[in-house]
Amino acid sequence: MNFILPHLPVLQVAIPLIAAPVCVLFTFGGHRKLAWLFTLAISWVCFLIAVALLSRVLLDTDISYAIGNWPPPFGIEYRVDPINAFVLLIISGISAIALPFARLSVEKEIETDRHILFYTSYLLCLTGLLGVTITGDAFNIFVFLEISSLSTYVLIATGVRQNRRALTAAYNYLILGTIGATFFVIGIGLLYMVTGTLNIGDLAERLQPLSDNRVVHAAFAFIVIGMGLKLALFPMHVWLPNAYTYAPSLVTVFLAATSTKVSVYVLLRFLFTAFGPSYDFVTLTFEFVLLPLAIVAMFAGSLTAIFQTNAKRLFAYSSVAQLGYMMLGVSLSNIPGLMATILHIFNHALMKGALFMALGCVMYRLGTVSLGSMKGLSRSMPWTMGALILGGLSLIGVPGTVGFISKWHLILGTLEAGYWPIAILIVGSSLLAVIYIWKIVEVAYLEKGINREEIVKEAPISMLAPLWVLVILNFYFGIDADLTTWVARNVAETFLGAGA
């Protein structure tokens, strides 16, 4: 075991990477079930590695791993510190919980001869997201970002069996995602031009004397816009609702819980580690770009969500609003604000994971998630609908749920920054969340059931179990938030300490 321990950072990425080609080999003989089991096992291995990394980083020091033994800043460095260890844990944890749910859901929603390639794309997507998070090399971020994005486009397009619009959703995401990634890579190129380095730690040092350089300003703008597109910052969110709505349930669960969070992480990494809030152009961006956009996102997302008739699309718009909360925390750039962002990355993964998984159960039984078809469904699927409502409560931010914890810190952050009207706006947009959650309560609990051709049964236990694990986690970390707030405080202090 001691032999493996120093290599954990690279194994975190290399294991799913090597698993993907191995998974393709299951096509010889068509072992669909084996491919799923294999993906499940790999996910759990990744999760255990992430746990080991996080505990080591929190109890000990940051880990640096030189790929190919080329010392940083010359070679590619994998750098693990509390923030990315935390994000790694979220990605691999959601994947580990979602995959037991996956088998039946994938069987129902995806053509049989595509299953093995579907799991291969899934593994590649996992590799990409983990890689983006762990690497300390700016160009390497782009490469892993594209690995995850390309496999995401494929995964979304596999929703075509349910609705052909999955194709146009994937196409639009491909165009916008590629523009975003290319903007990002232009930014990296400009930074390389002035500093001659790609290592983020080294970049931070070399940028110190260059704060008035126009090339640096341009690079900053390109990186913010590129990542803004990837994380669906309002008004660059147009790809997100369709992509989430028409993707297969498993993909929606995984993407909603992880992929935009990874982009938020990359943006945080550049804003706070590479540039830092001590530069004027960074603080100006916070105040005049990110803050207004975040507030508009909170309201536009929630308001649009209220008028949706498809439950998946409803929660997709709600994700736009939730990303607004995360960006609001960033733009406050004080300790409670940043803590709120980091907490919300984790908490939002839990609640959206639970909500989309519940919708996956509905999809499994009904074959549709439109609100009209869910009338009176609480009688035939009480456990699924119960989970949906509890997840919804967490989304609103009812005390005792994780949603409350992140909103609490966000409001503290706004008060500390002296923006008390924004605190009121946060409460106001939470009330909008009450409206769209109530729409679901009304449909599922209060309306009379419609006559269905066949009797709808409760979802199978293999789908309900992971769903309820997530729901319980929503409440567990809502009541006992010591661990998450400790990590978040740790991270927020490093970010702001390093920048000052």
Binding site: R164, L167, T168, A170, T182, G189, S370, S373
Partner: protein, 129 residues
């Protein structure tokens, strides 16, 4: 002023190419043309990287024993990766276009939107969601 324009001519050309590509992506309704625009856009970034690796008087970085000035090979290597990513994006995009054409019978964005709208309308009238 003129000197600055001429001595940085590569950047001007790259900017023109970049804007052309982005304009094609935004303005064309044809899905294949959008991908062509995307390719032009990406190519301009490849050129940006490659031109910033150039050292005046430098040769290809192959050791010949004689002391020489070498161009910076690192941007070239980075762009090799980016080109591969570009190929993957293009082929995936075109594959999606093929599938879209098979199921919608068109690759014009406007026609696809019309088809999707009428689908929505018939769903609402039909009553079943």
């Amino acid at each position: 002023m003129i000197d600055a324009l001429i001595s940085h001519y590569n950047y001007w050309l790259i900017i023109i190419l970049m804007m052309l590509g982005l304009y094609v992506v935004v303005s064309r309704g044809n899905l294949v043309k959008k991908i062509v625009g995307l390719n032009i856009f990406q190519t301009s970034v490849f050129l940006l990287y490659i031109s910033l690796g150039k050292v005046t008087g430098g040769t290809a970085p192959i050791l010949t024993g004689k002391p020489e000035a070498f161009s910076n090979p690192l941007p070239h290597v980075l762009i090799l990766t980016a080109i591969v990513v570009g190929i993957a994006t293009t082929s995936l995009g075109l594959a999606l276009v093929v599938r879209i054409r098979e199921s919608y019978g068109t690759i014009e964005e406007d026609d696809i939107l019309i088809a999707e709208r009428s689908e929505d309308a018939s769903k609402i009238n039909g009553g079943s969601g």
